[in-house]
């Protein structure tokens, strides 16, 4: 079924196959910066490779992407730079790789964040997805490893998922290149503002925390009316994140 979708879209009016050029590592004068985030072992590096045409090594052990990789592609005459962030389970802790991923999404202000998730373990992956959606509202969920999910008889209602999360959801099997054209198209649509996301915000927070977050975030909004993610900043301040405190002091966030 996946192959049908692929061929359908490659010939459809939306996807402009001729407009696609994989740029490898040459990423000068780019129009958009795209961050690639996701849990370890979700095939993130494979997605990165199939988007950029690079052949970054893809070992099958957690944390094998130890250095940040960058690559690019060109679509409809616009250049996209892709930054592969270290695979993490969460953005809430203080370990080096999580801080790197968190800082890039928050301070690097990517135009689109692609979140790669393993379709077989959606619940576990949503932990990270929901956190990223607190930081940025320009995101797309790349539901990878659909081939494995199919073999495991896991059915995902992508439309409901997209509605619940408030962002586009693109099913892919990056190992076989399936779904990548749709992903590229969606990235471009979000970057150009043709798709506007209304991301899900975390709901099941105990009331004492919710109140604290509300108090704090309204204070933050008073001070920085243009900050899009005051709730996330409030979360981080309650956590005592020194990086955020310094960024507030230096005005880096605005």
């Amino acid at each position: 079924m996946d192959t049908k979708v692929k061929s359908a879209c490659e010939t459809c009016a939306h996807f402009n196959a001729d407009g696609l050029k994989k740029l490898g590592i040459s990423t000068e004068n780019v129009d958009f910066v795209i961050a690639l985030a996701g849990n370890p072992n979700t095939g993130k590096s494979t997605v990165f490779n199939s988007l950029t045409g690079l052949r970054q090594h893809t070992g099958n052990w957690p944390g094998k992407t130890v250095t940040r990789a960058e690559g690019g592609f060109e679509y409809n005459k616009q250049k996209f730079k892709l930054v592969d962030l270290p695979g993490t389970y969460s953005l809430l802790s203080t370990s080096e790789d999580e801080a790197a991923a968190r800082d890039f999404i928050l301070f690097g202000k990517p135009d689109v964040t692609v979140i790669v998730a393993d379709a077989n373990r959606l619940e576990r992956n949503l932990n990270l997805v929901l956190q990223i959606l607190e930081i940025t509202d320009k995101a797309v969920l790349c539901l990878n490893l659909m081939d494995e999910a199919k073999r495991n008889h896991i059915m995902i209602d992508e439309r409901t998922l997209a509605r619940d999360l408030g962002i586009p959801v693109v099913p892919t099997s990056a190992r076989f290149g399936q779904g990548i054209p749709e992903l590229i198209h969606t990235i471009s649509e979000i970057a150009n503002g043709n798709i506007v996301c209304k991301p899900h915000r975390i709901k099941n927070v105990p009331s004492n925390i919710e109140n604290a977050v509300k108090t704090l975030s309204s204070e933050i909004e008073k001070e920085f009316p243009n900050v899009p993610n005051s709730r996330w900043i409030a979360f981080r301040l309650l956590e005592g994140d020194t990086r955020i405190i310094n960024a507030l002091k230096s005005g880096e966030l605005v």
């Binding site: 802790s93 203080t94 373990r121 576990r124 005592g240």
Partner: protein
């Protein structure tokens, strides 16, 4: 000199032996000499101040004689230092009793602050065992500067209490109050949370550690008499002598808190058994606690053993669709209820 393998070997072992005696960890002569050099005046002054502060806050009076007994320094050195400190207006005598001046108390609080912050740091960010925290903090408290201390505090999120439950003085010298009463004062059936574990004297502290009792655990007293105190915590029953129990401070909880009855530790789960996670014990702190939560070890998650290890440890657990290996000591900190 004639070469002979036997002589060469003997010579080698003699040299190795000498090196061992001089450099062996902690007890080597080299380290002892180095340590003696370090116990300079500053260290003695700070230790005297800290001791006086502890005596003051526990309401005891102290004269020079007791001070000499508690501190591990050369007697003359202490007497010398006490003289100097009186001149510098850090302490004063009320008859025989030594008292802290305001400046002295402020200085003492700074030392206590570093000590407790460092213990917090060791507990949250490193893997040092509990037995070592105190001694390491004793060394560190003389080393950190004012700015370093404050950035450490910020890094740790300005914590209120150290891992034993002792309050950490703030920059301005405010000290929070520890809630609760000593465990032997609690009536049978009281439910409470452990808010403080006294780490001195060491013998009793080690005994508490050996029992695997920890800060923040909920307990329920089920027996309390002159010979022993029995209570339930995290699915286990503990029996302590009153003298040991007196080192535990417990804050009774007024509201009716439901304590699960058949709580067990994840480490006790057997193959083919399934369970639900109740929570993570307070014993797991800082980074490692966060990591466990991020990996999906949250309240209500289903869990079972996926793979047992050929060497017995660690086992891999199936949680939220993924197989994750945890060492036994960590699994012991995850509380479950077997299905």
């Amino acid at each position: 000199m004639n070469y002979n393998p036997t002589y060469a070997l003997v010579l080698f072992f003699i040299i190795a032996g000498i090196l061992y005696v001089v450099f062996r960890p902690t007890k080597g002569w080299f380290w002892i000499i180095k340590n003696n050099f370090r116990s300079n005046e500053k260290v003695v002054i700070e230790d005297v101040l800290k001791q006086l502060y502890h005596f003051e806050s526990s309401g005891n009076k102290v004269d020079t004689k007791t001070l000499v007994q508690v501190l591990n320094f050369n007697n003359n050195q202490i007497i010398e230092v006490v003289k100097k400190m009186t001149i510098n207006d850090l302490i004063y005598f009320e008859k025989d009793v030594l008292k802290l001046t305001d400046a002295g108390r402020e200085y003492a609080l700074r030392i206590v602050r570093i000590h407790r912050l460092w213990e917090r740091y060791l507990a949250d960010k490193t893997g040092f065992s509990k037995e070592e925290w105190h001694d390491r903090a004793e060394m560190m408290e003389h080393k950190l500067s004012h700015d370093e201390t404050n950035s450490l505090a910020a890094h740790l999120g300005n914590p209120k209490f150290d891992p034993h439950g002792d309050p950490i003085p703030t920059i301005t010298g405010k000290v929070a109050k520890v809630n609760g009463v000593e465990l032997p004062l609690l009536a049978v059936n009281t439910v409470g949370r452990i808010t403080h574990i006294e780490d001195e004297p060491e013998i009793i502290y080690k005994q508490i550690l050996a029992e695997n009792i920890h800060m923040g655990s909920l307990i329920r007293v089920i027996e309390n008499n002159a010979t022993r105190i029995v209570f339930l915590s995290e699915g286990e029953e503990f029996r302590l002598a009153p003298i040991v129990a007196a080192n535990l401070t417990v804050a009774p909880i007024e509201k009716e808190v439901f304590i699960e009855d058949n709580i067990a530790r994840l480490s006790s789960l057997k193959e083919e058994e399934t369970a639900k996670i109740i929570g993570i014990s307070k014993e797991s702190r800082g980074e490692s606690r966060r990591r466990l939560l991020d990996l999906g070890f949250v309240k209500g998650a289903n869990i079972k053993i996926d793979l047992t290890n050929p060497l017995g440890d660690p086992n891999a657990y199936l949680i939220k669709g993924t197989s994750i290996a945890l060492r036994k000591d960590q699994a012991a900190k995850i509380l479950i209820k077997k299905d």
